[in-house]
Subunit: 616 residues, 2 copies
């Protein structure tokens, strides 16, 4: 798939985005979307019966590849085919599929995904837009009760969208049934807004200005009953509500869960942008010299400075780690589609990984692209050298498709829930008491690489032996041990606070840093295991050896950054902690001569690397 996309990209000109005015940029991006529709790749993720190819994995990888170019194209494609198309496919039923999927795939029906409101972004469950069923006319009345309910930041809305999947509280028979999605036409064929629909332009943004984000307000807009995307909840002609899922909460989370592909795509796209930024910064650092080497007339390449290596090489190792975690995620998503009835636990675990990897990968993109810009000095500030656009475009990745902080909290809550289930569904307080009274080795949930990990752990030194920092079993144990301990101590902390009679909200909020940390160290462990699994699958001995070194750098730089915790909890002695810092320096030195090779391996098409600072 990657090779295919590269070949297609090579054969079409990909105009740069910088320096364009907003409307020019929007027009250019729409043209690129049309071109993309012609390649048939947007069809990949859709069902075969409607002209799609049923290849979810391929579809995500294709998004990841598009993200090597202008990110506005990726985001607008994501809105059209991922979010809007995804909502129609996954929340709708045959009648919607037959009527719309082809037009969506072919971009004949440009659409929006109207979930976020001005007043409610992360808290989707409390959206204020209503869709009230009127049995007299068999219509839903979609309405924006106040400004806080205005649909906000909606991609494709300001210029091109004809229809929107609008998320609203379904009301029938005077009763609210929770959030559902409805297909609402927003523009006539001539581009003017439909009656009752007000469309505003969000105007200039930090980046992604090729995407026409807008605001939608609905004033008693009537749509037919059949416009409800009714896979998880339907309203009969007489207004009777029915759903295959009884619990409102479970239905809501099931509906939301189907939209997980977007998160996986964003994580992959963040990876692409990070790789592109690192390729530029490493190539520049490799050739740019500054200051003479004392006693010689030679100037030193800036990547030869330890400080510069430290800015880029651990980030490069982490980018590889996240690449493999992403591969695992895409594989899991693809496999899930082929299981008729994936069990609840498997699905939840996958959603948690997707949320966690999205958060970690997008924060990594933000900090790495920032570091790459700084590593290229003044040249990195010029638009012609690509980094400014990458920084500006990716900046919102930490916010959209789920705010990262909220996502990490989600991961942690998932961990607490599995924890609870393991101890036989006790209530929180009882759980905590149980935990406090027992001494037990919790079996932590394993990734796809579990067998490889087990083999390594069995071969590795025992817990009481003197371990080498470069021993993979030791590294994995450090990550596992941290995860277990952070989670266990969180449970105990929540219990203590609960016993002290502190209000439930305060209990949780006072420990929020601990909660977020639990999510974070969980993801870190999952990412390390993905890396280990990928190395195991690598058959070329030289590549394998290089990846082993890179994995050491990932693991040790992660431990280094968090060594306060390891010291506080007696997992590292002072001496060993200092040895970790020294090992990271040593790995930077050792990997420096391979840096160029490591970024070249990302195989970014040269047309996306046309920056004067790295031109020959």
């Amino acid at each position: 798939m990657r090779r295919d996309v590269r070949a297609q990209l090579d054969s079409t000109e990909q105009p740069p985005a910088h320096g364009l005015e907003r409307e020019e940029h929007r027009a250019q991006v729409l043209d690129q979307l049309k071109e993309l529709a012609r390649t048939g790749r947007p069809h990949l993720g859709f069902p075969v019966e409607y002209g799609g190819k049923g290849d979810i994995g391929g579809s995500i990888v294709s998004f990841e590849m598009i993200a090597l170019g202008d990110l506005s194209v990726m985001v607008k494609a994501g809105v059209q085919w991922g979010l809007f198309g995804g909502a129609v496919e996954l929340l709708g039923t045959q009648r919607h599929h037959e009527r719309y999927l082809r037009a969506i795939m072919d971009l004949d029906l440009p659409g929006c995904f109207a979930m976020t409101e001005y007043g409610h972004g992360s808290d989707v469950q409390n959206l204020k837009t209503t869709a009230t069923y009127d049995p007299a006319t068999q219509e839903f009345v979609v309405h924006t009760p106040d400004t806080s309910a205005r649909k906000e930041y909606i991609g494709n809305a300001a210029r091109d969208g004809r229809m929107a999947a609008v998320f609203a509280q379904l009301v029938t028979g005077g009763e609210s049934r929770g959030v559902h999605a409805f297909l609402v036409p927003i523009r006539n064929d001539d581009g003017t807004p439909m009656p009752g629909v007000t469309i505003e332009d969000c105007g200039h943004k930090a980046g992604l200005n090729g995407v026409d984000n807008g605001r939608l307000t609905f004033d008693e807009v009537r749509i037919p009953r059949t416009a409800l995307l009714n896979r998880y909840g339907d309203v009969a002609e007489d207004g009777t509500y029915s759903s295959p899922i009884e619990s409102d909460g479970r239905r809501f989370f099931t509906m939301l869960g189907t939209l997980v592909r977007g998160r996986v795509s964003v994580a992959g796209s963040a990876g692409s942008a990070t790789k592109r930024a690192l390729t530029i910064a490493v190539r520049y650092g490799d050739r740019r010299t500054q200051f003479e080497r004392p006693g010689t007339d030679d100037e030193v390449a800036i990547l030869d400075y330890l400080g510069h290596q430290r800015k880029l090489l651990p980030a490069l190792a982490t980018t590889y780690a996240l690449h493999f975690a992403q591969e695992e995620l895409v594989t899991a998503l693809d496999e899930l589609q082929h299981i008729d009835e994936p069990d609840e636990r498997m699905r939840r675990e996958f959603e948690s990984h997707a949320a966690g990897v999205k958060a970690v990968a997008t924060w990594h993109a933000t900090s790495t692209i920032q570091a790459a810009r700084e590593a290229c000095g003044g040249a990195g500030y010029l638009a012609e050298n690509i980094l400014p656009q990458l920084k500006a475009d990716t900046d919102v990745f930490t916010t959209f498709e789920g705010d990262n902080t909220v996502l990490l909290q989600l991961v942690a809550k998932g961990m607490l829930t599995s924890y609870k289930q393991e101890v036989q569904d006790l209530r929180p307080l009882e759980t905590a008491r149980f935990v406090a009274e027992q001494v037990f080795e919790r079996v932590i949930e394993r990734t796809a690489a579990r067998k490889v990990i087990e083999r390594i752990m069995d071969a590795g030194p025992r817990r009481d032996e003197e371990d080498s920092l470069y021993d993979r079993a030791w590294q994995v144990r450090m990550f596992e041990d941290r995860e277990e301990h952070v989670l266990d101590s969180l449970v105990q902390r929540l219990r203590r606070a609960g016993n002290d009679g502190v209000d439930a909200f305060d209990v949780f909020n006072n420990a929020q840093d601990h909660v977020l940390r639990a999510g974070r160290v969980h993801v870190d462990r999952v990412v390390l295991e993905g890396f280990v699994g990928a190395i195991d699958g690598c058959t070329d001995p030289d590549t394998k050896a290089l990846l082993e070194q890179l994995c050491d750098l990932y693991a040790l730089a992660n431990i280094e950054a968090d060594r306060a915790w390891f010291l506080e909890h007696g997992r590292l002695t002072s001496q060993r902690s200092k040895a970790v810092v020294a090992a990271v320096n040593e790995l930077c030195r050792e990997l420096r001569p391979r840096a160029r090779e490591l970024v070249d391996a990302f195989a970014i098409p040269e047309q996306f690397l046309q920056a004067p600072i790295i031109a020959d």
Copy 2:
């Protein structure tokens, strides 16, 4: 001064910069500069005999205030009056002052500061542009030998500049005399480039697009002998070179040292932008609610979440700390002007503080504005809410006026030099041996707050007592102790490596992380002392109590972020280290109700806070 500028700002409309096209933006900024010239404030920093006011401190504070608005205005003003005007004043002599200073102040002569070259930014000493004296015509021939010598990123060059202070290697009698500055006309009155001068436009940048950065290439451009800014080096009619400073190296650093005002201004401007971003984020966090408080219908203000407090409040405390450090810096700069012959050590110490505070303040701006953007979610990504412009504009602050990494290294090298001098000017190797053989309490260099600090230290608990985390003496001792130990261990490390016969460059480079750290912890200590001094000078008891709390948060958050080091070096036990984390959480909770008050105290004019997300 701040009140004056606020009043003037209130009386003139300050148009926003976002959404403008580049040329519109440049024209607007030039108009704003002309308006600024009319206020007479740019005259502040210039000598009274040429129509200035001789008020350096006021001049810097005025830059800091301009930086509350469009940062392109601040940067272009900085180029014109700080860099170009400063070079003419400080490197030139009476003939230049009489001829140019008034025109510069009044903006009748827009100028550039042409130091950086494409191939040499940080390494100014090795610039490649030459100015060769031709005694036959009594002219200098200014020449760009190759592309790497092209003057790059030069503000005011692409559109408005008429003259440039060009830094070039002075060659006379076939001998190079090192870098000097020359006044070179670059444009005719009609705006066309002068013969032999090629001007290119740097084009679009990440931010600051109201500043016309350009590239200058000189093809054997002839200028009169008197165009040399000859305060520190002159060429007689016959080509004889003379200088009041014999050593080429010392002359170079003296010349560069005069330009320190730019760094001080950038640090102040970074502070202004940070304050503006925090004001927006805190006001938003105070009113924006998300998710219901369990068991109630009330939604929680996002600033009530611990995670959100942790994003913003320690950054707010650090912003206050840097504000006071900046005040101290400006006062010192102002005082230095009034000392006829400041001693070398005093001057060097000031330059080191300026470099260090610039580095720390601009990195702080980058990370805090990033955090503020994320803390405002999708709204923070919209240009109308100001944060995108702040992020993009300030991003290059870490690079210009000295790359931060290079500056921190400079600070550290200065520390090593004073270290050496203290032990009687031994050579490095001998110094290190001396250090290793002695047990001594090094007296660390004190800031202006020294008396206050001594009083606090005398009153505080002894080293062996159980100290409260909130005890200022304990906090100061932690900072001091860290600085001393990092420096001592650096010296020993360099010595060991030197003894092992490692090449001099490698010795230093292998320890570069340690070197940078030495610079950093030095600045942190200076900043803490500035904060302590400011509290001591505060007469209002309520304000004082609030500042004490804020200072606790600054000190403890700093220790928290670096607690790995304190643990590794036996300065914190595990238990106490965890207590530091808990104390930061506790301070966040305690200061949260004062957050709005703390940002309001920055007194940002409301016209610079016209963001819809915080509008009433």
